[in-house]
Amino acid sequence: MTSSPTSRFRIAKRRVLLLSSTGATLHAFSRGRVEEPLRFTGDEAGVGGFAEYLRLSEPDPVYLLVDVVEEDFRLDSVPHVFGRDRAAVLENKQARLFRDSRYTQAIFQGRETEGRKDDKVLFTSIIRPELLDPWLAQLDRLKVPIAGIYSLPVVSGQLIKRIPISSKNALLVTLQGRGALRQTFFDEGHLKVSRLASLPRLEASRMASYVLQEIERVRRYLNSLRLLNSAEPLQVYLLLHGTLLQDLERQAKDTVTTNFQLTEIGSLGEKLKLTGLTSGDLPYADRLFASLLALDAPANFYASARETRYHTLNKAGSLMKAVGALSLAGGVGWGIFEFAHGFDKQLEMSTLGKQASFYEDRYSRGRGRLPKLPADGNAIKQAVEMVRTIEAYRETPLALLVALSRGLDEFPEMKLRGLQWESGANPSEGAGRRPERSVRRGRGRTTKEKPEGYFQAANVQGRLEPFDGNFRLALERVNRFAALLGEVEGIETVTVLKRPLEVSSRERLSGVASSTSESGEALFELRLVLRTHGEPGRS
């Protein structure tokens, strides 16, 4: 192969190893170019050559595409179950269907329309896994990552999706390298049967008729399997190239049972935007399938986790490198951002410092012109105002004594014996006694003795003199005296703490009723509260 065709591949380096019963062909795709295929025979020399190639080449991932006669396809149905049950059913089925189930797979293809409505499953298996062993051994020995092991008929399903097919069924016919005819039958897009037959050595002119005979043979086989509907002819899609294609175009005639669609591989490649799919006059489709797999590789089909472990590790390694690169880039990016931010702030800081120094200097100069003070202006002002407040709340008994003397002027018979005076925010505190009765303030008005503000309070003890034993009169005089004091300006409350005679039913009462001379004294005690700050009824 001398051409150097190009193609479009999403992954720069991929290698497809097309395995057949007689050997292997390696298709390498690098940086959008399809390199010349390398062929290795299935004998010891071929495998050795393959090992040498692997040793000398980059450890790019390898996709194994298996195209062997020893791949079996069985259509079956299994109960519609899930999870572990499904796995167990499939495993059991595969064990029964295939002697060696190392490379087996199950493809679900919908459900039966009748009965239990079981799942329709296509079981596939490489019944001679040892065909792969020499190649896999070399790959494993040299730690070459295996991306997966794929079945060529299964991969050809991708082609069916890309070719516009109007019919329900399709038989895809291709010629494979090393002289083999691959016929794969699809029903409603689902792979049902695939057959690989070796071509006998024939003259080129007889090849077309042989191919048509083989197609008819397969049609009859499909018919026997009841895979064909008698009302619909079999749609045969022949993907070929060169003289054989031209011969078939002349010979393949549509019949009631068979319709032929002949497609030139090169022109199909153009539709699929793939180039370099043909070589000379050769009719083979190997490159087409290899390119399809390299272009859009599905998930691994046959390979075990152990076989793909180097590919998994490589992907993990790539992920690590990507994460590392991102971390490094992120760290450096973030660092640059932070450094830039810091530099900006540092520049701003320099300006701020200069401005602050400017104001501090101005302030110091201005302050220097002022006299030396023990504190700043606000504190000086506060100290002065504190003294003013203290002065405002300065208390002496004078105000209350003046109020008391006004009352005494009106009641000369009231003689004082003692007085306890105090000042404060709460006149009931520290007085030593709690008020005992309702308080009269002004005419006919009573309030509770718990005023708010600043107060002077005094307990005044006195007696009526002279006293002739007339307690009724004495009580009246004391009450009037208290009422008069209550009307003096500033007096908040006046409370009678002690009366000349306790006439309340709640009090114990005793005395001498026989003689007025021994009637005792008419003693009383009053409590006066004078408000000096604040307004009544306000806190």
Binding site: G331, W334, F339, K345, Q355, A375, V384
Partner: protein, 213 residues
């Protein structure tokens, strides 16, 4: 694939690269963050410094006005013993002079130690605090009017501010003594001498405190 099947040789290079990249990237980012945080803190300090300096500068005129208005008063109140240190010697001398002047039959005093005082009336404090010394006077009164005269004379003559906290007045006998050297009334009064001065440990400004004294 379990861990035993992992070929660590394959992962060695990516792992080393990952660790290297994470460490380098982290160190670079961490160092930059540390640097930027430090600069940010300094920037904040400088910003506060500027704000304070600007505010002080802008209030300089106000301060001048306050000083011109209040400092003479402050000095006067200091001389009067209402700001600064209390003047106990003056109080004692004044008590003696007043007692002689109004001819009190007897007068004794007892002054307690000065303490920071929390007034029971609303007052704004800040750098300055209220300090008070309690003075207990035992007074023999010839006449009840002697007591108001005593307080009026003290207010006029003594250095400092005082307020009478409480007084107890008792008639000594029903019969009035006409001898002016003899007491007719016995009084005991507690005075609080206030002084405003800089607190030993200034606290935060307290607004309109109204705690019980």
């Amino acid at each position: 694939m379990n861990l035993a099947e992992v070929d660590w040789l394959v992962l060695r290079q990516p792992l080393i690269l990952l660790v290297f990249a994470v460490v380098i990237g982290g160190a670079f980012a961490g160092g930059a963050y540390y640097y930027a945080s430090g600069v940010e803190r300094e920037h904040l300090n400088e910003s506060r410094r500027l704000t304070t300096a600007r505010a002080r500068y802008l209030t300089l005129d106000d301060e001048k006005r306050l000083i011109q208005e209040y400092y003479p008063q402050y000095e006067e109140l200091t001389k009067q013993g209402r700001i600064g240190e209390e003047q106990r010697l003056n109080w004692v001398e004044t008590l003696r002079e007043v007692a002689a002047k109004i001819k009190l039959p007897s007068l004794s005093y007892e002054i307690g130690a000065q303490q920071e005082y929390e007034p029971d009336f609303p007052i704004d404090t800040g750098r300055f605090g209220v300090y008070a010394s309690e003075m207990v006077l035992n007074i023999g009164l010839f006449h009840e009017e002697d007591l108001p005269r005593l307080f009026a004379e003290l207010e006029r003559e003594a250095a400092g501010s005082f307020s009478v906290a409480n007084c107890r007045i008792q008639l000594m006998s029903d019969a009035f003594q006409s001898n002016p050297t003899k007491s007719n009334l016995d009084a005991q009064c507690k005075l609080r001498w206030y002084v405003v001065k800089v607190k030993a440990t200034p606290d935060r400004p307290r607004r309109r405190s109204r705690r019980a004294g």
